[in-house]
Each structure stands twice: as structure tokens, then as C-alpha cells.
């Protein structure tokens, strides 16, 4: 790979942060300096009191044409990683090299001043993002048109709605011509129509062949936009692979680890799908859920629930349970529940979640394992449910023709 090619190279990257209050006034400084004279300042590579590693030993690279998705729970270090890539922060150890002009779709309206007009803010924010004057002037009309707020461009930004603010900010960022593209949680700006437009635009920018890094909690966006992904947990890369693999690991990890509300004693130990491959829309998937009911004095009469959650919205699109099927669990001992689901759903990522349910108290008593299912392909359709439609063209009956004539 030639040195001049744009790209991102992160090698054994560590970043240390200080937890709790630092001395932030001169009054605190003098005792701190005195302590430092007596003791010794902690080295960059070791942890002092109250320090913690925000990123530990992170390694990855992104080449042109690749898009890396970074997922993980809050506080995993995703934003820290992006700040290291944009040079806002410096590594405590390791290397973080970004070659090429960075375009960062991060905090896209951070530089807006409320008293300035939209027009004035376009120039200000453009400059903050590193655009030259000629570039801003040349793309000004495009930016305003894309934002869809041309009528308000000479109105002070303080009179904008938050949606208008975000739209203008995104439009400026969308007209950068970066050699490296970094995106952090800007996939959800404005109303639905603008979100779709913004996502198409990001797709276009990513499609130009520049290296892309995306941080988002919208997992389906990661799945469609990225060529590979990393899953961060407590500053560490716990998984590095395809977006689907990482998303699956993320969803399983968070769901399985969630504490069960209430104590039932029922344990759901394993959920095995028939296969890991993506399923076509309308196809059937089989899963087996294993669990045990403990020996106990009185049965709570719990049922086992299965629900399907769309990962892009986080909403449960389907739920059923043993109660609905008249299946009663054994009084005690191990059981295996075979579930067959027909994935009549549009393309996307779904999680099949399992849980124990107390029908009397109406609450979840145990959380079981979950599995990610990717629905891909099948007959194309638009909408939220696959209705297995059949369309055919028929020649009209001869008598019908005759009666109309």
C-alpha cells in the first residue's frame, strides 16, 4: 500500500482517562504540585489513582472502499476512539494514523452561533470543518438546497427548530469532500424524509471509495453501510468481523447479561438456531430453547415467551409464548422448546429473544439467551410485513368482454 493512499491505521492504541474531579482551580493546584514533588507523577503507560483505560489495545485498519462500523454499549469507548481519529485527543500509547483530509460528520452544528443567520453560520461551520472559502462559496447553493430551509437562510439560527438546525448542519457536512470520512450518530437528523435523504447522502459519500468509520446505535444502518465492524466493550475490541457477526455478538451479550427482574428459578440456558446463515423474507427458521425448571414447593405457572425485535427500531414486532399454545412446562427438570418462526418481515436484522413470563403478575421473571437473524433477499416488497402475496395476470373471460361491448 503506497504511503500516500488515504487510510486509517490504528495499532495497539491505548487511552487513559481520569475519573472524578481533576484539580481545576489554582487553589487545588498548589497542594497537587506539592504532592507531585514528594511523590512521583504517574507515567503515561501506567494507571494512577482514579485513572482508567478508556481504550485498551485497540488495533484495526480501514482502507479505501472499506467502511468500519463501531458498535458497543454506552461508555465502551466509541466516541473516544473517534476523537483520537480526529486528533482531538492524543493516544496514551500506541499509534493512530489517519492519512488524508478528514471529513467528520460529528457534532455537525457544534459551531453554530444562535445570533448569526443561517447564511453566516454556513460559512462559520464550513470553516470549522476545514473547508476553504472558495469551497463554501462554490457549494453554498447546493448546501442550502439540500437542507431544504432556503426561506430561512437569512434568519438567525436561534429562531430555527432543532430539526432545522440539524438539517443545516448536516447539509454543510454532507458537502465536504473528505479523503477519510468519520461519522458519529448523525444518521438520525431531522424528520423521516430528511433522515432517508441524509442516509442516501452518506451512502453516496461512502460509495466514493474513501475509508469510512461509522459509530451508531442504529444497528441496521451499520449493517447496510459497513463492510466490517468491531464490537467495543469497556474499551476493548471483543469482536472484529462482519457487521452481522458483531451485531449478533453485541445483542446476545447485552441481552443475556441483563439482570432478570424477580426470581423464578427457571433458567433458560441455550438457544440454537438451525443455521447461522441469513434467511430470505418469508422463510422459516427453527430454534431450540433449552432450560430447566428447579424443584420447588409451588409452581408459579410461568410461561416461556419468544419475541422478535427489529434491531433498527428496537421495537418488538412479534411475540408469542407457551401460554398461547397451551403448552405447560414440566413441574421440574430440563426441557427443550422447539420454535419455528416464519420470517414474514422486510430485510433487516432481527433479534429473537427468550424470557420467562409470570402471567399472574404480568412481569418477566427471567431473561433467556437471544439470537440475531438476518433477513435478506426474497421477493422484493415495500412495507413492514411480508404478506406472501401472489400476483398474476389473467386473460379476461370471453363473456365479460362480450357484456362490456
Amino acid at each position: 500500500m503506497p504511503v500516500t493512499e488515504p487510510g486509517i491505521e490504528v495499532t495497539r492504541l491505548w487511552k487513559k482517562f481520569h475519573r472524578g474531579p481533576a484539580h481545576d482551580s489554582l487553589r487545588d493546584l498548589i497542594p497537587a504540585l506539592a504532592r507531585r514533588l514528594v511523590g512521583r507523577a504517574p507515567a503515561a503507560t501506567s494507571l494512577g489513582a482514579g485513572d482508567f483505560w478508556a481504550l485498551r489495545d485497540v488495533t484495526f485498519s480501514v482502507r479505501p472502499g472499506e467502511a468500519l462500523g463501531i458498535i458497543g454499549p454506552n461508555g465502551a469507548g466509541k466516541s473516544t476512539l473517534l476523537k483520537l481519529l480526529t486528533r482531538i485527543l492524543r493516544p496514551s500509547a500506541g499509534r493512530c494514523v489517519v492519512r488524508g483530509r478528514i471529513g467528520a460528520l460529528i457534532e455537525i452544528a457544534a459551531g453554530f452561533h444562535p445570533d448569526l443567520t443561517g447564511r453566516e453560520n454556513v460559512f462559520l461551520q464550513g470553516a470549522i470543518m476545514g473547508m476553504r472559502r472558495a469551497e463554501i462559496v462554490g457549494r453554498f447553493d447546493e448546501i442550502v438546497e439540500f437542507s431544504g430551509i432556503a426561506d430561512f437562510i437569512d434568519t438567525p439560527v436561534k429562531r430555527y427548530s432543532s430539526g432545522m438546525n440539524a438539517r443545516l448542519g448536516f447539509s454543510i457536512a454532507a458537502h465536504l469532500r473528505p479523503e477519510v470520512l468519520l461519522i458519529d450518530e448523525v444518521l438520525a437528523v431531522g424528520d423521516l424524509a430528511f433522515q432517508a435523504k441524509a442516509f442516501r447522502r452518506i451512502h453516496e459519500m461512502a460509495g466514493l471509495g474513501v475509508p469510512v468509520v461509522v459509530v451508531s446505535h442504529q444497528l441496521d444502518r451499520i449493517a447496510t453501510l459497513c463492510t466490517h465492524a468491531i464490537l467495543l466493550e469497556r474499551g476493548r475490541v471483543v469482536r472484529h468481523g462482519t457487521p452481522a457477526e458483531c451485531i449478533a455478538a453485541y445483542v446476545q451479550g447485552t441481552e443475556a447479561g441483563a439482570p432478570a427482574p424477580g426470581v423464578s428459578g427457571i433458567r433458560l440456558t441455550g438457544l440454537t438456531p438451525a443455521s447461522d446463515r441469513p434467511v430470505a423474507s418469508g422463510e422459516r427458521v427453527g430454534l431450540t430453547l433449552r432450560g430447566t425448571v428447579p424443584v420447588r414447593e409451588e409452581s408459579l405457572g410461568e410461561t416461556i415467551g419468544i419475541r422478535v425485535r427489529a434491531l433498527h427500531t428496537g421495537q418488538v414486532v412479534y411475540a408469542t409464548g407457551t401460554g398461547d399454545w397451551g403448552i405447560s412446562l414440566p413441574e421440574a427438570g430440563a426441557f427443550a422448546l422447539v420454535v419455528e418462526l416464519q420470517m414474514n418481515l422486510p430485510e433487516g436484522l432481527y433479534a429473537v429473544e427468550t424470557y420467562a413470563w409470570d402471567p399472574l403478575r404480568h412481569l418477566e421473571t427471567a431473561r433467556g439467551p437471544s439470537r440475531t437473524v438476518q433477513v435478506k433477499g426474497g421477493r422484493p416488497f415495500w412495507g413492514s410485513v411480508q404478506l406472501n402475496s401472489r400476483l398474476r395476470l389473467e386473460a379476461p373471460a370471453p363473456d365479460a368482454l362480450a357484456s362490456r361491448a
Binding site: H23, D24, I88, A104, I106, A127, M131
Partner: protein
């Protein structure tokens, strides 16, 4: 392609392999960064100027009124002093105060805005990359714009007071440059200091309020006698302000020393060419020193802001 990375059992037991030495912190790097981001420096300066005059009753007149207040206060003080000594206040003395009040107002305004420029833009500092020098520097430049308007008003005032600008007035641009450099250096230093220690801005406020008593704006150092005058001229701003007064109002060539008659008829050194060198050294070393320090520290700004 997928490979789950094995997580070590004990996190605390491991440490990173090797720390990368901090990057080079040369002034050339600062200059290149600033050149790359000159558009941002311009836009931020424009922003500061615009928001100062938007929705303000006084508008651009503010740029003239602020130094006017300083001049008025100075004239009042000197008038009282003259009355006490049984003399009248000469037009030259008023002109001298006017010439020194404008740069003083510039310094006070610029330092006031620059000290809070980094903390006041915390959202930018913590979220967007750009050379952070542009924030305090744009505060200084916005104030310089104000002072440029004030200078026009000052020229009118000087002609009303009957001051003829001679060739020696050509020293003024050099002295203004020194003032700008010194102010920029102080702005960088104080802006960064206030980011780490939030009480710096209070200290700066106090220093700026009382600074007028130890800076020769309303008075001349010669009034303090031989040793007092020299002590007064140790203030880096003093040679710049006195130089402006002597060159613009008194028509004195700054390359020549000047003796004045001070208290009790004593001879006092009112000006020495060495003062020029002294102030210039403060301005340049202060600017370069602050810029180097600022550049070394700016990579941790986002963690502290």
C-alpha cells in the same frame, strides 16, 4: 474473517506495550496549522465582531465609546492633579492620555475576551478538531478591529487638540505591532491557563482592573522620579504606551534618549532606545513562548475543558 478476541482474565495486570513519544511541538507546526485554518481564524473573528454589534444599541459606536470613557477618566484625574498644583491642563497632556488610552482599552478588551475564549467554546474544543490557537487569537483580532475604528476617531480628536503628526508618528505602526504580539502571547497563555484552572479569569479581571494604576496611561513615569520611572517602565506595556505618546504627540524620535524634569527639578530618563528593545523582547519572546506552551498543551484541552 471473524475472530473473537480473547479477553484477558485480569485487566489490571496488563499494561500497554510502549508509549509513543509526544509529537514534535515546533513553532513551524503552529504556523502551518494556523495557515491551513486561516479561513477559520477569519470566520471566528468575523463571528466575534458580528455578535458584538448585533442587537447592541450602540452598534459600532461602542468601539469609540469605550476608549472615550478611559480618556474621560484620565482627563478628570489629570485635571484634579493640575488644579492641586495650581496649573492648567495642557492640550498636550489630554492628547497624551488619548493616545495611551486606546491601546490600553484594546489590551483590556482583548485579554478579557481571550481568557474565556477556550472555555466559552467548550463544545467546539471537545468535539471538533482545529488548531485551538484560533480561539484566543480571533478574540484578539476582533478587538483589534474595534481599535482600528477607535484609531480613526482618535485621529480626529488629535487634530481637534491641535496635534500635528510628524514623521516620528511612523513609529506608531511598529509599536502597535509590538502591542499586538504581546497581547496575542498573553491571550494564548491566559486562555490555556483558564482552561485548566477556572479561577484564572477572576485573577485576570482583578489584574486588568488595577492594571491602570501600574501602567502609565493617565500619568507619565517621569512623575515618579528617576528610580520610580525606571521601575514603572519595567511593565512591558509601559514602553509601548510611552513610546506612542512620545512619537505621536511629542514628536520625539524613539532612537534618541530623552531627559525630562521630574519631581523637585531632578533629571529623569523619560525615554531610552533600550526601552524599545525591552518591549520588543517581551512581545516576541512572550508570543513564541506562549505559542510553544499552548501547542504542547492543546492536545489535552479536550480532556480538561
Amino acid at each position: 474473517m471473524s475472530q473473537p478476541v480473547p479477553a484477558p482474565a485480569v485487566d489490571a495486570a496488563e499494561t500497554p506495550a510502549a508509549a509513543e513519544p509526544p509529537g514534535p511541538s515546533t513553532l513551524r507546526e503552529v504556523a502551518r496549522d494556523l495557515w491551513d485554518y486561516r479561513e477559520l481564524l477569519y470566520q471566528l473573528t468575523l463571528r466575534d465582531i458580528r455578535i458584538r454589534y448585533k442587537q447592541a444599541i450602540m452598534g459600532f459606536a461602542w468601539a469609540v465609546f469605550m476608549p472615550m470613557f478611559v480618556i474621560g477618566a484620565g482627563v478628570l484625574v489629570r485635571y484634579a492633579m493640575a488644579q492641586f498644583a495650581g496649573r492648567t491642563l495642557a492640550a498636550d497632556a489630554v492628547a497624551g492620555i488619548a493616545v495611551k488610552a486606546l491601546p490600553w482599552a484594546f489590551f483590556v478588551g482583548a485579554i478579557g475576551f481571550a481568557t474565556t475564549s477556550l472555555v466559552g467554546n467548550a463544545n467546539l474544543v471537545s468535539k471538533v478538531y482545529f488548531p485551538r490557537e484560533v480561539l484566543p487569537l480571533s478574540a484578539v483580532l476582533a478587538q483589534a478591529f474595534d481599535s482600528a475604528i477607535g484609531t480613526l476617531a482618535l485621529l480626529v480628536l488629535l487634530s481637534l487638540l491641535g496635534v500635528d503628526l510628524g514623521l516620528t508618528a511612523l513609529w506608531a505602526p511598529l509599536l502597535a505591532g509590538m502591542l499586538l504580539a504581546f497581547t496575542a502571547g498573553a491571550a494564548l497563555f491566559l486562555g490555556a491557563a483558564n482552561l485548566f484552572f477556572r479561577d484564572v479569569k477572576y485573577i485576570v479581571q482583578v489584574l486588568l482592573t488595577f492594571g491602570i494604576f501600574v501602567t502609565p496611561v493617565f500619568f507619565e513615569p517621569a512623575m515618579f522620579g528617576p528610580s520610580g520611572a525606571q521601575l514603572m517602565m519595567l511593565n512591558p506595556l509601559a514602553p509601548i504606551l510611552e513610546g506612542l505618546r512620545l512619537a505621536v504627540v511629542a514628536g520625539h524620535d524613539l532612537l534618541a534618549p530623552l531627559q525630562a524634569v521630574g519631581r523637585g527639578g531632578l533629571e529623569v530618563v523619560a525615554w531610552s532606545p533600550w526601552y524599545l528593545l525591552y518591549a520588543g523582547a517581551w512581545a516576541l519572546l512572550g508570543l513564541f513562548g506562549s505559542a510553544a506552551l499552548f501547542h504542547r498543551l492543546e492536545f489535552v484541552f479536550a480532556e480538561y475543558v
